[in-house]
Amino acid sequence: MPSVSFPSTPSRIKTLAWAAALLSAAALSGTAQAASMKDGVKAYKPFIAENIAKAIAGAKEMQTAVKAGDLKAAQDAWIKSRKGWEVMEPVTGTYFGEFDKSVDPWPNAKSGYHAIEVVLFSAKKTEGLDQPIAEMLANMDKFEKKLNDKKFAFAPQLLLEGTANLAYEVGEEKSGGGESPYAATSIIDMQENVEGIEVAWKLVFADTLKKKDPKLAGIVEERIGNLEKLVGVADIKSMDAKKVHVGGEELAALMLQAAPKLGLKSFKVGDEDEEAAEKAK
């Protein structure tokens, strides 16, 4: 079973590059050596900007390949575009839900990744995809525009919830072939998801938790590394689904435990109802 060791993964290298960039930003702004969550969410925005740009670039390449009737190039561009999308999943649902449901819908959407996937990878055709790709690109452009608005900012609370939720969801539907069953590239989706978790954690939360609870911070980092190892396999069939589920659940649960230590809420469903009931008393 091929596996990728944690210290040498490309995603790990990319993540470290982002963490280094954050530390530079912190130094320039004269803040303490450890980055605050406020610095972190600022640094996280360009990470998302880079990846929506990748998703758009891949989709444009796919558009060109489809027009040329080049199936292989269109498939490669689909995978390239999707990598950019999947690494942003801590925020696609929480901050960009209105575009997420248009870019990544299923099962019977007329546009979006999966409508295109089934034609490119299963029917192995390029015909009839001009409109679906154009629609997907239009929604990605809107996503980018919203992100680039100066007033737009990520907040630690919602970002933690999105990150923990993604950790909980990694590996779901593995038995049926995962999120991209026709392209058979679900393992790439999962690898990008885990990288997205790692980047969000390291950029925004890791340093603050290290100050508040170094032991818990160490455990979270170890579990992220563990999850990265578990999905760092050649294909989804080689992945141990149960270990990924348990690993993802443990990581999400640890993030829940970390929330109050980070000065955040534990984001349980029903809390808002209890608060409302308290206020009503």
């Binding site: 449901k101 299963s122 069953p181 659940e249």
Partner: protein, 454 residues
Amino acid sequence: MRFRPLQAVVAAGLVVAASMAPAHATPVVSKDATLPVGSELNEELLNQPTELFGFERAGGKRSYLFNLGDMLFSSSSIFGGKAADAGMSCNSCHQQGASNPKLFVPGLSAKPGTFDTTGPLFNAKADNGVFDPVTVPSLRGDKYLAPYGHDGRIASLREFIRNVIVNEFAGAEPSGQVLDALVTYVNEISFLPNEKITSDGHLTDKASDSARRGEALFNKPFPKNASMSCATCHEANAAFVDHKVHDIGTGGYFKTKTLINAKFNAPYFHDGRFDSFDEVVGYFDKHYELGLSASEQSDLVAYLDTIGDADTPFTPNTVQAEVDELSQFASVLDVAIPARDKQVIRLAVDSVGAEWREVGENFPDRKDTSVEGGVAERMRARASVRDLVLTLRQVAMAAEIDDFQEAARLYGEYRKTVAVVTPYLKAAEQYSLFNPRVHEKHFAALRQLADLAK
């Protein structure tokens, strides 16, 4: 042909019946899936086979061992290899303790409802090199149906269950407690009541005249061998079995099958070669040269249909039914946490968590284009399930580091969370796959996607 009022009424009835029938889920479509493309586990049942347990009929209660067995029966954690990876459990084949007429795995099934338990896919060590699929039997009344296996090769239910776990599905050697629990559970799976037969297997006044004529034929000596009748092997006062194996010309010795609730056990014979009682009766007529007329065959079929019936064969699945069942599964923690039984705590957290995840999948997220309305309710239901799973996971994490006090506190929190989120799950039920209309739309969309792939 003119459409007469009577036909209109019948047709309307059929429409209702069709909408209540289990919608056909799409089979496996991805080459990346754990099971081969074309596999069908028939997991998305709206109307589930009715479950009835012996202690319920006697006015008793669920024991710890029973709850543990019930939970394990639905858990992939006791299996290994591909079965565990595919999330399969005993319940995948024996749905609610009954059979699974649609189960199909390419390479292991000759037709839906059959499965080669000694094939290479799930445990290469048990591969006998012969493609010999057999039907998936219902487990109703199993305690009365020894010996076990189609050829009756295993005398004890306990040994049979161990063989299923270890040899058929590559699981680790089960502990004594695990086997005791599963045996306890299976022994409680009861035949379903049928008001058309008495406790000793005779017809009541609810049965039709045709069935009565069939009963007489069933007990009538065969023309070419007066020492035999259908009832020779299918003894009416003994669950219609004789606990023996017989060669009836189907390729070897196979044990007598029960006829109670058998209407729901198709396909028939050890290898599932017959899809209906008509075919079964036709075979016996020919093989034993019974010389039955068409109307006599019809009467025998009516008899089999009558004694094989059940008053309530199916029960609609609901949010409340799922909440109740999973609360019963999780209740093993009431005992396991104070007993510091890490094995059961781990099994319970893994199994109940996996079951909750399946419940969660019934609430499509906002990206599901086949479902309209109730986005906020559906998202809240999904988040509710996430909270339940994560709270349970923390129970296991605490137990792993021997902090059983914290595990007990977290289990209490889990129970409170179940109470808090159940109304959220119910509020989303109408927009979920528990609703037959939503269910059909969702799976129609999946079929549409699968068609596009062709």
